[in-house]
């Protein structure tokens, strides 16, 4: 094998990419409408909303932490925003900013507990998941908040306005996702901040000894993770015309699966935004594909579980080769 091919195969994104292409080929050969314009339109809509959370989670996991409260924040922020707006407490812009500020506070608290009290992020964010979800349910008595007033609001147009290219319906959220992917990818690979993120996850003690502000880096990423989750939740609520306090339940697991399948190391130190984008597509295309080829939707988790195990085995094998310098 030539050196270039060896390098390509050793990349953490290579395995997931092959799987993605293979999935598309198999699903399309069984059901050609898999690649129809209508199906692609439908696929993109929700994929990018979950994707926004996964992109931020990639940076956080690269820094050696993860956030189980993202699904709750996804549900809570739109509830807060629409409650403020519907009750006439604030205009839509202020309500939007207030809900993102609330997300930032949630992220800050997560970061504070993890970095100052040195409690594992698994426990901290599990607790926060319950607090935030409980708050959303308590505030709303468990009922969804109406969002149909969103029609015509400029903010709604900017966040989830749609237009057609031929028959392809594109939502603005796709551009938010692409923008976030480009910026986060740039930050992780090209900037000093990216170096600090990787070092904070790879060897926090060594990083600290070099003057890297590990706690501050992690804190910023917890805030980013919560804000992106809230942002995604608001986008989703406007698109579906419902701010349901229960929405986002178990999203945290799907998002973490997307990130890990893409090649980001669960223990931290190594992350890839391109891999996460591939991981996002794998999970969403799989969910869509198995329905289209007639497999019962309830079997979805079997496929997802199998993919996660397979990808973990592949990444572990690549890691061993990497450690051995091959």
């Amino acid at each position: 094998m030539s050196q270039q091919i060896k390098k390509l195969v050793a990349k953490p994104e290579f395995g997931p990419f092959v799987l993605l292409v293979g999935m598309i080929v198999v699903f399309t050969s069984i059901n050609p409408s898999y690649l129809s314009i209508l199906n692609i339109s439908n696929l993109l809509v929700f994929t990018v909303e979950l994707g926004l959370i996964a992109l931020a989670m990639t940076l956080l996991m690269t820094a050696g932490e993860f956030d189980l409260s993202v699904g709750s924040v996804f549900g809570f922020c739109p509830v807060l925003m629409w409650t403020l707006y519907n009750e006439g407490v604030a205009g839509i812009e202020i309500a939007f900013l207030a809900s993102l500020l609330a997300a930032a506070v949630i992220g800050f608290l997560n970061g504070w507990f993890v970095t100052r009290l040195r409690i594992p992020s698994f426990l901290v964010t599990l607790g926060m998941l319950l607090v935030v979800r409980g708050t959303a349910l308590y505030v709303t008595d468990g009922f969804p908040q109406r969002t149909w007033d969103a029609a015509g609001l400029w903010l709604a147009e900017v966040l989830v306005g749609d237009f057609y290219i031929g028959e392809l319906r594109i939502f603005m959220s796709l551009f938010w996702f692409i923008g976030a992917a480009v910026i986060f990818g740039y930050v992780l690979t090209q900037t000093k901040a990216g170096n600090w993120i990787q070092a904070s996850g790879g060897n926090p003690n060594a990083a600290r000894a070099r003057g890297v502000k590990v706690n501050r880096t992690k804190m910023a990423l917890f805030i980013l993770s919560a804000c992106m989750s809230g942002f995604a939740g608001i986008i989703s609520s406007i698109r579906t015309s419902a701010a349901n306090p229960n929405s986002g339940t178990t999203y945290e697991l799907e998002v973490i699966a997307m990130v890990v399948i893409g090649g980001t190391a669960l223990r931290g130190g190594r992350g890839t935004i391109i891999g996460t984008v591939i991981g996002i597509l794998i999970l969403r295309l799989m969910r869509n594909g198995i329905v289209l080829i007639g497999v019962p939707g309830l079997a979805y988790n079997i496929f997802i579980g199998a993919i996660i195990l397979g990808m973990m085995a592949l990444h572990s094998w690549l890691d061993r080769r990497h450690q051995e310098g091959r």
């Binding site: 090209q190 000093k192 901040a193 990083a207 890297v212």
Partner: protein, 246 residues
Amino acid sequence: MGELIRMQNISKFYGKVQALKDVTLTVNEQEIVGLLGDNGAGKSTLIKILSGAVPASGGEIYMRGRKVEIRNTTDAIRLGIETIYQDSALVTELSIARNLFLGREPIKGPKFLNRLDHRKMSEVARALLKQVGITKEIPTSTPIASLSGGERQAVAIARAMYFDSELIILDEPTNNLGVAETQGVLRFARNARDSGHSCIFIAHNIHHVFQVVDRIVVLRHGTVVADDIDPKTTTVEAVEHVITGM
């Protein structure tokens, strides 16, 4: 050569346990000092205080006669004190170039873009690896995980040299290394001294210490029991007696 560092009457308590009692240690310019002692003698604690990892309970630190405060590792690094721990204090997932500049990354272009100057990092890293004595051609984009133990130590020493650390503390740098790699690390330490740096060299293997240091200081039960042993005029057995007190 003049005095570079003086740790004066340093004491350290962990709860009620006293780990160091009135320890005074000096290191001169362009000198390699071997710090020896049995397990629990206080070597690590002393080094942690000097590198800012733990605060002293009492005592003062002087650098070229001027009193300095070392409250954390950043203070130590700013003063030019670099500690290379057993695990090399490197991030194994990052490349050689990224490790060399970790915490002091060069930026190019507009500041707000925060963009790493990859070319500069790579060029400097290549030159440094040569300077420290690595003759093998290793791409600077190679992750530390792919390097041997000796090469990792070399990268850590190269980093200290580049950032003009005046004092390089090598904490068990030859642990778990083969014979050739150990010789390499000893050579790296000598190269560092010859290019104007001072070193504190800590190792369990006294033979390694004898090969590289100019002076030996021995700690026992938290106090200095000898601070001017010349390795050229003594034997390993004699130093072992001082270490154990038997």
